[in-house]
């Protein structure tokens, strides 16, 4: 049986561009959310976000790349390059036909698409938008697949390349898709991850309309507080993570540093409502149950749960119920945390960013905390690792995601020492 392992990590997250800077953010246990600076948000209900201080030139991109690529594509390419370097692979020497790419994104190139709309419609005045103002790469901005194209072109992949877009589970689902490619033998090495850069007026307006984002604008760093009784919604974020996933035997043979095996993955849908969740967590629990089964891991063997933990009352209770339903009594014993408390909710990207955090947690044997958790919601009665990181023996990690459309996904990561022979 072919197994898929993570041998390289690249991350761009609020507060930290690069893998180690990102890990430092998690250890610091502080919210990286702030009053929106990208546009004038004064007319909006939610006026805060987890923005990345990202200088594309400093991150190694050229002038044409910066002109051509949406911010989400820039993030993804920068992450892929970091992951490649981290893996120690000489990517240009790989068989391109055995090299794949899978990138997740919930909303694609929203920022550019909105910016160009503003120009072509002359500030919303023209329904028949003016094509003479169209930029050459406008089509790339309409099709999210361009994000995967940029990464694939950059690494020279000629094997399977896809963009996975399942809303807020895109990141987990993209990694799950990449794992399939390695396990079934369609590729030997896959650059897998996700990216989103959604911080623009239309995104803020649409989440304002459904009151999903927090209206708590006065203390931005403390506004994202999953599982806290005072939480009032999620805080939008942006970022990306891309990992090098390769076949286990080949990775061992070349003496690669292995962060973790992606041992099990499963998705389920609630078929209930596009945004609503039933409080019982039934379908997420089923995804967890199937994911554990694929990894051949018992609930008691899970040492850390990386929660979706978006900080909406509905989500936090839904997944707390799902953990109890799938893990039984062990749910009360295992540390559970949400890094969205620090880096916000970057929609489709966050699932991959969270898996990067899980791989680093396994590597460093430390559980990242849930920041801003001072008063636990009485209905959320698990160990959410408040405020400070915790040293812990971590063999197996469960990471979950939940998103609009009803998608529920679960992934199990295993410490390399535990991988069965």
């Amino acid at each position: 049986m072919r197994r898929a392992v993570i041998t390289g990590i690249g991350a761009v997250a609020p507060g930290g561009v690069g893998r180690e800077a990102f890990w430092d953010v998690l250890l610091a246990g502080k919210g990286r959310t702030r009053t929106i600076t990208f546009f004038d948000a004064s007319e909006f209900r939610s006026r805060i976000a987890a923005e990345v201080d990202f200088d594309p030139f400093q991150a190694g991109l050229g002038h044409q790349e910066v002109r051509r690529m949406d911010r989400a594509a820039q993030f993804a390419v920068v992450c892929a390059r970091e992951a490649a370097a981290d893996s120690g692979l000489e990517v240009s020497a790989l068989d391109p036909g055995r090299l794949g790419v899978t990138i997740g994104s919930a909303v694609g190139c929203t920022m550019s698409l909105e910016e160009e709309y503003r120009v072509l419609s002359d500030g919303g005045r023209k329904w028949l938008v003016d094509h003479t103002y169209g930029v050459p790469h406008l089509y790339e901005q309409m099709v999210p697949s361009s994000l995967a194209v940029e990464v694939a072109a950059d690494v020279g992949a000629e094997g399977p390349v896809s963009l996975i877009s399942t809303g807020c589970t895109s990141g987990l689902d993209s990694l799950g898709y990449g794992v399939q490619l390695v396990e079934e033998g369609s590729a030997d090495v896959v650059f897998a991850g996700a990216t989103d850069a959604p911080l623009s007026p239309i995104t803020s307006a649409c989440f304002d309309a459904i009151k999903a984002t927090t209206p708590e604008n006065d203390a931005p760093e403390q506004a994202s507080k999953p599982f806290d009784a005072r939480r009032r919604g999620f805080v939008l974020g942006e970022g990306a993570a891309v990992m090098v996933i390769e076949e286990y035997a080949a990775a061992r043979a070349r003496g690669a540093r292995i962060y973790a095996e992606i041992a099990g993955f499963a998705g389920r849908s609630n078929a209930f409502h596009m945004t609503g969740l039933k409080p019982d967590g039934r379908e997420m629990a089923e995804a967890i149950r199937v994911g554990l089964g694929k990894a051949k891991v018992n609930p008691e063997e899970i040492d850390y749960v990386n929660a979706h933990g978006s900080g909406t009352k509905q989500n936090d209770r839904h997944e707390t119920a799902a953990f109890k339903r799938s893990l039984g009594d062990h749910a009360y014993k295992v540390p559970v945390s949400s890094i969205k408390s620090m880096v916000g909710h970057s929609l489709g990207a966050i699932g991959a960013i969270e898996v990067a955090a899980c791989a680093l947690a396994i590597d460093r044997q430390v559980v990242p905390p849930t920041a801003n958790l001072h008063e636990r919601d009485p209905e959320c009665d698990l160990d959410y690792v408040p405020l400070t990181p915790r040293e812990h023996r971590i063999r197996n990690v469960l990471s979950v995601g939940s998103g609009f459309g009803g998608f529920q996904s679960a992934m199990v990561l295993r410490r390399p020492e535990e991988v069965p022979a």
Binding site: R125, A152, A153, T275, G403, G405
Partner: protein, 401 residues
């Protein structure tokens, strides 16, 4: 002989050539084009005026009315297509096990018209004018989510985006799910970005036809090729395990093989390798393939690359090649699923449909022109290529009866 692992048992066609599979098929056989001047808005100010619109599709007559304001035109068509496909397959989701049903669609550009409308509210009036449904209508997962909810399908659902190639990738993913614990997948896809912003974005590639002659605007593999015509719609397909389809006596044909690849800029095309991989996956020799449904971009250079790939795998002129999509235009996420539906109908009726309009075909391939060929195809290869470098291939085969 053992049953194939994956069979397509239901077709839900929503295309410029027809609002159901049979209507579409008879249009294909008679060469009746669904291409015309765009009517959803006035295109006269744009260099591109032709499009493939789905005629007579009024959402509130085709899907539950309450869903109409919640979703974009693209999702309306997919919801209708899914219902038609399930009916065609004889599948009642209420009788199936919830986790054994999944939805995997391809989407290329999401709910562009809906998004344009909401952005127009945002910039014309203010943030308070953006409606609640923007959060669930614009994003690429809207169609899969709505089909899952409407039919109680709780299995591992997904959305694959690879422009025009994505439809075959969605079907490939459906096959992975059937190999695992899923027994029925609603797959295929639709797209519908024929709104002003969507059209203008498409125009920037320089690949769209600026011709106003509906019969000559989209001529793949022709010396007079001048781009392609954009369209809307697609096809939703029901995929099931072969043995279960056989028990009901259901099915148009089997999915025998699949592969996908990528063509990075500045490198020789990987398309021939992808075609060989799909044939290897199907355990089919090139000589056993009876027809190729080509991608046919309508661009001289891209058509040359595709014709060369086909010729290198099969030999020059060794296999009939066709591109009936000239009748509908390119449908992006919906395009390849529609080609699969057309190919399956061709297998059913023993016909390779023709590519109307082409008069001066490129050399190296045997393009089926002028009229359909009644050659009784049993094994067919479908090719799809997506903007940016995606490619994919699917091998379909007749069922043993």
């Amino acid at each position: 002989m053992s049953a194939p692992e994956m069979v397509i048992t239901g077709l839900g066609v929503v295309a410029p050539t027809g609002l159901d599979a049979e209507e579409h098929w008879s249009a294909v056989l008679s060469g009746k084009s669904g291409i015309g001047r765009i009517t959803r808005f006035d295109p006269s100010g744009y260099p591109v005026v032709l499009g493939g619109e789905v005629p007579d599709f009024t959402a509130k007559e085709r899907i539950p009315q309450r869903l109409v304001p919640q979703t974009d035109h693209w999702t309306h068509m997919a919801l209708y297509g899914a219902e038609a496909a399930l009916g065609d397959a004889g599948v009642d989701p209420a009788e199936r096990s919830e986790y054994e049903m999944a939805v995997v669609t391809s989407s290329s550009s999401g709910g562009t018209e809906f998004g344009q409308n909401e952005m127009s509210g945002l910039y014309g009036k203010g943030p308070g004018w953006v409606g609640v449904y923007q959060s669930i209508a614009w994003f690429y997962a809207a169609t899969t989510g709505q089909i899952s909810i409407r039919n109680g399908m709780r299995g591992p659902c997904g959305v694959v985006c690879a422009e025009q190639a994505g439809g075959l990738d969605a079907i490939g993913q459906a096959r992975r799910l059937l190999r695992d614990d899923v027994r029925m997948v609603v797959t295929g896809g639709t797209d519908a970005s024929l709104c002003p912003y969507g059209l203008v974005a498409q125009m920037q590639t320089g690949l769209l036809s600026e011709s106003e002659d509906t019969a000559r605007a989209y001529l793949p593999f022709d010396a007079d090729a001048c781009g392609y015509v954009p369209g809307e719609g697609g096809a939703i397909l029901i995929a099931e395990r072969g043995e279960e389809a056989a028990e009901r006596g259901a099915g148009y044909g089997a999915v025998l093989g699949y592969a996908s690849g990528f063509e990075p800029p500045g490198r020789p095309s990987s398309l021939a390798r992808t075609l060989r991989r799909a044939l290897d996956d199907a355990r089919v020799d090139p000589g056993d393939v009876d027809a190729v449904f080509a991608d046919g971009m309508g661009d001289l250079r891209q058509d040359r690359i595709e014709a060369d790939a086909i010729a290198s795998v099969f030999g020059p002129g060794a296999v009939p090649v066709t591109a009936p999509k000239v009748l509908s235009g390119r449908l992006y996420g919906g395009g390849a699923p529609l080609d699969v539906a057309t190919a399956l109908l061709g297998i059913r009726d023993g016909v390779v449909p023709h590519t109307p309009g082409t008069t001066r075909p490129v050399d190296g391939i045997d393009l089926v022109r002028d009229q359909p060929r009644e050659t009784g195809p049993r094994t067919v290869l479908v090719i799809a290529r997506g903007y940016g470098g995606f490619n994919a291939a699917l091998v379909l085969g007749a069922l043993e009866r």
